[in-house]
C-alpha cells in the first residue's frame, strides 16, 4: 500500500484496545541506508510528545494507526537524537535532484507499507503534492480530468536526491550526500549559487580541496569571490593552490589587494611566486589570460624520451595537446602536437618535427589579439612568451571560451 505523508500525519493513533492515544505528529527514519525505513513514530499527546519504535505498530491504514500495546505502557519520551524526522526535516525542505542538477522543494513524501514495514519510496516535488498539501486535491483532480490535462506524478526516487537540509538540522542521509559530491563541478557550481548560506558551507565541507577547486573554476567570478570568503583562510590557500594557476590568479585579482597578498604569502613559495607573477599582468593582456601549466621539453630530446617522460611522470596540465620545445637558453624553439609524435619514428628528434612557423604571443599582447590568432589558425593552445622569448604560459581553447563567455555576460 502506498500512502503520502500528508495523508498519514494528523491521523489518530489507537492502542490495542482501540483507545485513542493521540495524533500522528511525525515519522522517524534511520539516517543511513538507500531505502530508508521508518523506525519510529512521534505522537502528539498531552503533556509531551511520545516516541514509539515502529515495531509496536500492529496495523497501519489511511484512517489511522493501531498499536500492539496498551496505552498504560506508553509514556512521554523524546525521539532519539540525530535521526531524521520526515515532517520536521524533509517536508518543505530543499533537495537537490542529482540527475537533473536542480534544486527542488519537497511538497510531500511517498511511503509504502508492506509486510509490517513502512519505507520511504520517494519525494513528491510536483504540483499534485502541492495541491494535496493545500487541501485542493479534490478540486484539482476533477478540473484536470475535465480539461483532459495529464499532470505528471512528480515523484523523485530517493536515491537520486541529495538532502541539503532546512534550518540547522544536524542529521544527514549518508548515501545521498555522496550523490552530491559525485556531481559534475559545473552543475554543483550552479546549485551552490541557489543554495542558502548554511547549505553552501555544508556542501563545501563535504568536498575535498581538489573538488572545491574544480567547483570554483566552474563558477562565475562573483560566485568565486563569495566562495573564497565563505571558507576559512587556511582552506582558501589550499584550494587556490589546487586550482589552475591562471584561474587562481584571476580570482585573486577580484579581491582586495590586502586579502590577496595575505593569501599568497601563506602559500608554498613556488605557487605564491607564480601567482604573484601572473597577477602583475594587465587584466586584458595575454599574460593575465594564460595558464602556466604546459608541457615543455628540450628540443634535442627524441620522441621516445618525451613519450616515456610523459607516461611516467603524467604531468597535470590543463591541455595535453602540444609539447613546447626549448633551446638551452630556455627560449621557445618549436612546438609538436601529441598526435604528430604518435605517428613519428621513435628516434626522431623533436626539433625535426616542429613546423618552421611557431605561432605565439607575448605577455603584453591583448587578449583580443590572442583570441583572434587561436581562431584564425585553428589552434588548441597558443604559447605566451616573455620579453626574452622564454615561454611563460599558454592560452588554451578553454581560456578563450571562458573569455568570450565572460564578455557576453558583462
Amino acid at each position: 500500500m502506498q500512502i503520502f505523508l500528508s495523508e498519514l500525519s494528523g491521523r489518530g493513533v489507537y492502542d490495542q484496545y482501540g483507545k485513542r492515544v493521540g495524533r500522528l505528529k511525525d515519522l522517524v527514519i534511520h539516517p543511513s541506508g538507500s531505502l530508508p525505513e521508518v523506525i519510529g513514530l512521534v505522537i502528539r499527546h498531552h503533556p509531551g510528545a511520545i516516541y514509539l519504535p515502529f515495531r509496536n505498530v500492529a496495523r497501519l491504514e489511511p484512517e489511522g494507526i493501531w498499536l500492539s500495546l496498551g496505552s498504560e505502557s506508553i509514556s512521554p519520551s523524546p525521539p532519539p537524537e540525530d535521526h531524521l524526522l520526515l515532517r520536521r526535516d524533509l517536508l518543505d525542505a530543499q533537495v537537490v535532484d542529482t540527475h537533473g542538477a536542480r534544486i527542488l522543494r519537497v511538497n510531500d513524501v511517498l511511503l509504502s507499507y508492506l509486510a509490517g514495514h513502512l519505507r520511504v519510496d520517494g519525494l513528491d516535488i510536483g504540483v499534485k503534492g502541492l495541491m494535496r498539501r493545500l487541501g485542493w486535491m479534490f478540486l484539482f483532480s476533477h478540473l484536470t480530468r475535465i480539461l483532459g490535462i495529464a499532470v505528471p506524478a512528480g515523484i523523485l526516487p530517493l536515491d537520486t536526491v541529495a538532502l541539503i537540509d532546512k534550518g540547522a538540522v544536524r542529521v544527514h542521509l549518508s548515501v545521498p550526500q555522496d550523490g552530491l559530491v559525485r556531481m559534475h563541478p559545473a552543475d554543483l557550481a550552479d546549485l551552490a549559487e541557489e543554495m542558502g548560506r548554511q547549505q553552501r558551507s555544508r556542501l563545501y565541507s563535504a568536498l575535498s580541496d581538489e573538488q572545491l577547486a574544480d567547483l570554483i573554476e566552474a563558477a562565475d567570478s562573483s560566485m568565486q569571490v563569495s566562495i573564497l570568503h565563505e571558507i576559512v583562510p587556511t582552506r582558501a590557500v589550499r584550494v587556490l593552490e589546487a586550482m589552475e594557476p591562471d584561474e587562481a590568479a584571476d580570482l585573486l585579482g577580484e579581491i582586495p589587494g590586502v586579502e590577496s597578498s595575505a593569501l599568497i604569502q601563506s602559500m608554498t613559495p613556488e605557487t605564491g611566486a607564480e601567482l604573484q607573477q601572473l597577477l602583475t599582468h594587465n587584466e586584458n593582456s595575454a599574460g593575465a589570460m594564460m595558464t602556466t601549466s604546459f608541457l615543455a621539453v628540450n628540443g634535442e630530446a627524441t620522441v621516445k624520451e618525451c613519450l616515456k617522460w610523459f607516461k611516467e611522470s603524467a604531468p597535470e596540465v590543463e591541455l595535453n595537446a602540444y609539447f613546447y620545445l626549448t633551446n638551452p637558453e630556455g627560449q621557445l624553439s618549436g612546438v609538436v602536437s601529441l598526435r604528430r609524435m604518435l605517428f613519428a619514428a621513435e628516434h626522431d628528434q623533436m626539433t625535426q618535427l616542429s613546423p618552421k612557423e611557431i605561432y605565439h604571443v607575448h605577455v603584453h599582447t591583448s587578449c583580443q589579439k590572442a583570441v583572434e590568432m587561436i581562431a584564425h589558425y585553428k589552434l588548441l593552445a597558443l604559447p605566451v612568451l616573455d620579453a626574452g622569448n622564454r615561454i611563460e604560459g599558454v592560452i588554451t581553447i578553454h581560456d578563450v571560451l571562458a573569455y568570450l563567455q565572460e564578455g557576453r555576460t558583462k
Binding site: D92, L134, G167, Q199, S222, H229, G253, G257, Q276, N282
Partner: protein, 423 residues
C-alpha cells in the same frame, strides 16, 4: 626565497573598490522603488491638501522604514535565503501559498498603478497612452529577460539619480523656506478624519509588503558576506533617507504652489499640470519626468520581484538565467503581470478602480503577517545565530510593528468602509 612584497597592480586596486561597490545597490534600489507612482501621488496630495503639515512625519517614517528594511537585509545576508524560502521552511506550505497569493494580488494592483503612472506622465509630454504603455511594457520585459540581473541593477542604480528631478522641481516652486523648516521641525497634529486618513496613507505607501521580499532576495542574490554587512546597512540607511528626501521635496513643491493657491488636485498628473502656471514649465516637466522615471523603474521591479518570490516559495525554478522551458512558472508569472498590468490600462472601461481597491485590501491584509513573520524569524537563534535582534532593537521593533499594524488596520477599515473615519 625572499619574502614576497605585495605589488599592487592597477587590477588589484580597482578590485577593492569594485568589491565595495558590489555590495551596495539593494537598499538604495528598494527604497527608490518605494517612491513609485502611488507614492508620488500620495505625497503630492499631502502637499496639495495640507501644505507643510505632513513634513515632520517624514522623520519618524524614515526611521520606521530603516528599522524594517534593516531587518530584511540582515536576514538575507545571514541566512543567504529569500523571505519566501524562510516562510516556507518555518511555517509550511499553506502559510506560504496564501501569503504569496496575497502578494500576487497586491502587486498586480501596484503594477497596474505604475503603468497608469507611465500613461499619465507621458500624456503631459504629448504621447498617447496607446503608444507609451505598450512600449514601456516591452522595454521593461526586454530589459530583464534579455539582460543579466547585474546589468539591470546598474540601470536601476542609474535611474535612481533621476529622482533629483523632484529636488529641482521643489526649488523651482520657490517655497517659503523659513516656513518649510519650521513645519519640518515642529510636529503638528489634527484629529480631523481627512488628516488621519492622509497620515495612514503616507505610512502605508512608504512601508509595503513587497519591499520585504524584494530587498531580501536582492541581498541574497548578491551573496553579500556577513563581514560586508555594514556596507549593506549603510546602503539601506542612505536609500531610506534619499527616498524620503524626495518625498519631502514633492510635498514642498505641491505645498508652495497648489496648496498656496487653494487649488484642488486628484492625482500626481494633476499636480504636474498644476505646477506649470504656478512654478513654470520646467518645474512641471521635471515633475512629470520624475513620475515617468519612477513608474518605469517600479514597473520593472514589481513583476520581477513577485515572480521570484512566488517561484522561490513554491520551489519552482526561477531567475532570468534559466530558459522558458526550465522555468515556465517564473516566466509565465513575470510576463503575465506585465501584460495584465499594461493591458488593463489600455482597455477602455476596464475595472481599474475595483482592481486597485482589492489590491489595496490585499496589501493591507498582508502587511501585518509579513512584519510579524519577519520578526519571529529574525529572533530564531538557529537561523540567525549571533545576528538575532538585540533586546533594545527587539522592543523597538515590536512597538513599531504593533503601531504599523494598528495604522494599517485603520487603513484597511477605511478602504473597506469609506465612511469609517468620517463617521
Amino acid at each position: 626565497m625572499t619574502k614576497l612584497t605585495p605589488r599592487l597592480s592597477s587590477r588589484i586596486r580597482l578590485a577593492g573598490i569594485m568589491a565595495f561597490l558590489g555590495v551596495i545597490g539593494p537598499g538604495i534600489i528598494t527604497a527608490n522603488v518605494d517612491n513609485d507612482a502611488g507614492g508620488i501621488t500620495t505625497y503630492s496630495l499631502a502637499g496639495a491638501q495640507f501644505g507643510h503639515a505632513f513634513l515632520w512625519t517624514l522623520f519618524p517614517i524614515t526611521l520606521l522604514l530603516i528599522l524594517v528594511q534593516e531587518m530584511s537585509a540582515r536576514m538575507g545576508v545571514v541566512t543567504g535565503k529569500g523571505f519566501a524560502d524562510l516562510i516556507r521552511e518555518h511555517f509550511g506550505v499553506r502559510w506560504t501559498f496564501y501569503i504569496l497569493l496575497m502578494l500576487l494580488v497586491a502587486n498586480l494592483g501596484n503594477t497596474l498603478s505604475e503603468f497608469a503612472g507611465v500613461a499619465a506622465s507621458m500624456e503631459i509630454f504629448g504621447f498617447p497612452k496607446y503608444l507609451s504603455v505598450p512600449l514601456t511594457a516591452a522595454f521593461v520585459w526586454w530589459l530583464v529577460v534579455k539582460g543579466s540581473y547585474r546589468s539591470v541593477e546598474k540601470v536601476f542604480l542609474f535611474a535612481s539619480f533621476f529622482y533629483v528631478c523632484y529636488l529641482a522641481s521643489g526649488f523651482l516652486a520657490a517655497p517659503h523656506w523659513a516656513g518649510v523648516i519650521k513645519s519640518s521641525l515642529i510636529p503638528s497634529w489634527s484629529g480631523k478624519p481627512a488628516y488621519l486618513a492622509m497620515f495612514i496613507g503616507m505610512v502605508g505607501t512608504t512601508i509595503a509588503p513587497w519591499m520585504q521580499f524584494y530587498l531580501q532576495s536582492s541581498v541574497v542574490d548578491k551573496k553579500i558576506q556577513p563581514k560586508d554587512y555594514w556596507v549593506t546597512r549603510w546602503d539601506v540607511i542612505v536609500g531610506c533617507f534619499a527616498t524620503d528626501i524626495v518625498a519631502y521635496f514633492i510635498i514642498v513643491a505641491c505645498a508652495a504652489t497648489i496648496y498656496a493657491h487653494g487649488l484642488s488636485i486628484n492625482s500626481a498628473r494633476d499636480a504636474a499640470v498644476a505646477l506649470a502656471p504656478l512654478a513654470g514649465k520646467w518645474a512641471s516637466l521635471l515633475f512629470a519626468f520624475g513620475l515617468f522615471n519612477a513608474s518605469v523603474f517600479s514597473a520593472s521591479i514589481l513583476p520581477l520581484s513577485t515572480a521570484y518570490s512566488m517561484s522561490e516559495g513554491m520551489g519552482w525554478e526561477s531567475g532570468v538565467d534559466h530558459s522558458f522551458r526550465e522555468a515556465p512558472a517564473f516566466y509565465s508569472l513575470y510576463t503575465g503581470l506585465i501584460v495584465l498590468g499594461a493591458g488593463l490600462i489600455l482597455i477602455p472601461h476596464a475595472p481599474l478602480i475595483p482592481i486597485m481597491y482589492w489590491s489595496q485590501v490585499a496589501n493591507g491584509i498582508l502587511l501585518p503577517f509579513v512584519l510579524i513573520l519577519m520578526l519571529v524569524l529574525i529572533n530564531q537563534h538557529r537561523l540567525m545565530g549571533e545576528h538575532v535582534n538585540g533586546p533594545v532593537l527587539n522592543v523597538t521593533a515590536w512597538v513599531a510593528i504593533i503601531f504599523l499594524v494598528l495604522l494599517n488596520s485603520l487603513l484597511l477599515l477605511t478602504t473597506l468602509f469609506p465612511s469609517f473615519l468620517t463617521g
